[in-house]
């Protein structure tokens, strides 16, 4: 069956085939490039299946020493468990307080001057890029062991993350209501309170809950460098070879994080 468009169809088929082959060639070369890069880096990082298989007996041995978990240490570990939650809570609270003004300065539409905007964004990127563990290491050597450096470490990192998130939300508000408040003669702060904050509040509260959840996980890890809570009991028991107690700490960490995740996502759903 011949169509009035036959000439265009034939020509189109040739062009389409060429395009398809070109696209395939590009994708294959990109994939090949990735494979080469990965293969080159594999040797540098000592990837070795042989080592993993050889290490299995040691892992089994280690696991055997931890099992069964020492349940008598369960009660004394409840204190550190609460401490972990407290570290996360205070770290998050401090981050919320610090983020409020920083977010306003880091958003185009609420920042008093472009230079303030750039400096604040730079500062926040700095806070975000340094991991809590590094903060904790530095702070433990500065203020000593215990939960306080953990609180500060979490607060510093969370401030960077939270302030940037809130700033992005502020920049994406609907400008209509903001303009209406301007037209009504409201001042800058009033416009922020009545026009911007109500718009960003649900997303921000959801993010704060998410950050609290993340902070609990961080708080358990920070204990490993001395910053209190369940992580501290974990590393202490390991260094004293009391592996059954280590297992208990690990169990409680898993329990805590599971509970925090569940509560946090439940609350986030209720808000939105």
């Amino acid at each position: 069956m011949s169509s009035p468009y036959q000439a265009a169809i034939n020509q189109g088929l040739i062009r389409e085939a060429a395009w398809r082959h070109r696209r395939l060639a590009v994708r294959l070369s990109v994939a090949a490039g990735f494979v080469v890069l990965l293969w080159l880096s594999a040797s540098r990082i000592n990837l070795s299946l042989k080592n993993v298989i050889q290490g299995v007996p040691s892992m089994v041995d280690f696991f055997g020493r931890m099992f069964p978990p020492d349940l008598s240490s369960l009660m004394p570990l409840l204190g550190p468990m609460v401490e972990t939650v407290q570290i996360a809570a205070w770290g998050t609270v401090l981050a919320v307080v610090a983020s409020a003004p920083l977010a306003l300065l880091a958003a185009h539409n609420t920042s008093p001057h472009p230079s303030v905007y750039y400096v604040t964004r730079l500062f926040l990127n700095l806070l975000r890029s340094i991991n809590e563990l590094i903060y904790a290491l530095l702070l433990v050597s500065a203020v000593g062991l215990g939960p306080f450096p953990g609180v500060l470490a979490i607060a510093l990192h969370a401030t960077g993350m939270l302030a940037k998130f809130v700033a992005e939300e502020i920049e994406h508000v609907n400008r209509g209501p903001v303009e209406a408040l301007q037209a009504a003669g409201a001042g800058r702060m009033q416009i922020i309170l009545f026009g911007i904050m109500p718009q960003v509040l649900p997303a921000v509260v959801g993010y704060i809950l998410y950050r609290f959840d993340v902070s609990i996980r961080s708080a358990t890890v920070l204990g490993l460098v001395g910053a209190g809570g369940l992580g501290f009991t974990l590393i202490t028991s390991m260094k004293m070879f009391k592996y059954h107690e280590t297992a208990t700490s690990i169990l409680l960490i898993i329990l805590l994080i599971w509970a925090a995740d569940a509560i946090s996502s439940h609350l986030q759903k209720k808000i939105l």
Partner: protein, 272 residues
Amino acid sequence: MNMNVSTVSQAANAAPVDRSPILSLVNVSKTYVRGKLVALTDVSFDIGQGEFVVILGPSGAGKSTMLRCINRLAQPTGGQVFLRGQEITDAPRSLRKARREIGMVFQQFNLVTRLSVMTNVLSGRLSYRSTWRSLFYSFTREDRAIALECLEMVALGHKAFQRADTLSGGEQQRVAIARALAQQPKIILADEPVASLDPKIARQVLDYLRDVSQRLGISVICNLHQINFAREYAQRIIGLSQGKLIFDGPPGALTDDIISQIYGTRVESSGE
């Protein structure tokens, strides 16, 4: 219960009738991109107290720009704007005070949808309240009485404590009118207030606008592109075409010829 709370209608009835113009535009011009884009050219007119003026013109004629030049959401590049005899074209200090006297109603309503109807209307009172007070979202008893009265005037008192986004389009626009009224303004600027509403609801909203204008002696400048509405509601029509004022007179003087000039085409005057 304190019965001496001053209300909007009491204040309006107590004010002496003013014969001098509430608003004067003198050769107001607006250009963009260093003069290459001309939005308004030498627009001049006076508005008296209590007048209901409709600005008629096609889209792009400069109606919005002109309205925004009055309350300086846009800055005129030429000419002067006088509010009650005082020049408000440039002065930054008195901007909030000037905007207090000028209420604005927008095509997209521009309510803060997550807040209650009551809070939206109360935000019209912000120019009377200090920043400190607003930090606690606090208003005076007088503010609340005024807000409720304004809501009654648009027959929405019974919905005061609902979230604004639970209301229909027409109802939201009436809340926007109440918000403007809460400012106790001398003028209300309405920028295509009914363009997003179907004809029956549009009439309702325009009825409310005209009603409060007559009852409270508030001048209304209303941008419309619908010729039939202009004829129905205006005491005076100003025709704008390509940034120039080409007609200023009562609806009766609006001939088909003039309408064609405004719209730049042959238009059936009985049409939409």
